[in-house]
Symmetry: C2
Subunit: 180 residues, 2 copies
DNA sequence: GTCACTATACCGACTAGTCGGTTTTTCGGG
DNA sequence: CCCGAAAAACCGACTAGTCGGTATAGTGAC
């Protein structure tokens, strides 16, 4: 049986969740503390400032991306397939964390921007090793971004889910027919 | 000679620009007013509240999308090509306005979400008429979203511009080879 | 005693929105 | 063309409320 998540983890979770579902403005210290089930004082006990909370979120993203890259490196033949399809799984820890950091980046948080840029470079390199053709890698990454972007809007409210898994499967199939 | 933009237009421009480049949090009434070259009082004379400003932004997006759809309907053969490539032009009035509304949507503004959903549906319908194959339309739209998402992050800060026009050209070429 | 908090009070900075007053533009009569 | 009044456009100080952050006294578990 897994440990129940520690208060520190619950606080990061809460920050992440509020960023994803309600945006940066709603992520106030009190709202974060309340969602994590602690008092505001309890939050500031673990994180002296909001920037420390953000730093913890950035660390989490780095770890999750590291693990994702390891999976892709382990099975190069499925790397592109895996990359595109995992963009759909908006409930996964990686996608949720990525989305939260993206929200901060869009509020022009320089660190968040740099981190996302580094992650994208790493994904590009791994896909490049696995696929070999630069244009195909760009195509795959853009497709992943598109799926991700769609999913992130759908998640916030009333977007029609135009991209269900079966459709993505067929699109991946179409791309597989490209000769290069 | 074109009219110099009216104060009302300049205020909407200012709101749009700040949303795109600095995010929702930075779009305060004073910042908007200052960028438009008026005082806060001048702003509130034209827009009683921030919601009225947002409503004006929504109206603007609707008009711009209307015009875009008309272009695509006029030349169905180039519609898909046009859709993908125009996603790159982040400086165009349509893309900038779309990006601003997207920022509001990500801050969970329900109206913004609904508007974006309507626009996507309209684009889908027009592309469907022009292309005929549903999976290809999804592929085209996802690709456009990916380009757009990339561009929007690049615009905010230090993202490497992985998607230059020449690359997009080649990718569009690759997709053109798909048989369906 | 220390750790991990709770609960509450407080401060300074900032923000949306209001309001009284001022400037600029418009327009009809002489 | 000029005058004066009304309407439109605009200014900036003020209010009420929010948020990040600080501080502090207390509590139960180990």
């Amino acid at each position: 049986m897994g440990h129940a998540p520690s208060t520190v983890q619950r606080l990061i979770d809460a920050y992440q969740d509020i960023l994803v579902s309600d945006g940066e403005r709603s992520a106030t210290l009190e709202a974060i503390a309340q969602r994590a089930g602690v008092s505001k004082g309890g939050l500031t006990y673990h994180f002296k400032s909001k920037d420390e909370l953000a730093a913890a979120l950035f660390d989490r993203l780095q770890s999750l991306v590291e693990a994702d890259l390891a999976v892709m490196r382990a099975e190069p033949a499925q790397a592109a397939d895996y990359y595109v399809k995992s963009s759909l799984d908006v409930e996964s820890p990686l996608e949720r964390c990525n989305m939260a950091v993206t929200r901060l980046a869009q509020g022009s948080h320089p660190e968040a921007n740099e981190l996302l840029a580094r992650c994208r470079t790493q994904w590009f390199d791994v896909l490049m090793d696995a696929v070999g053709n630069e244009d195909m890698v760009h195509l795959v990454m853009l497709l992943g971004d598109g799926i991700y972007f769609n999913a992130s809007l759908t998640g916030t409210g009333a977007m029609p889910s135009e991209t269900d898994p079966a459709t993505i499967d067929r699109i991946v199939g179409l791309i597989g027919t490209i000769e290069y």
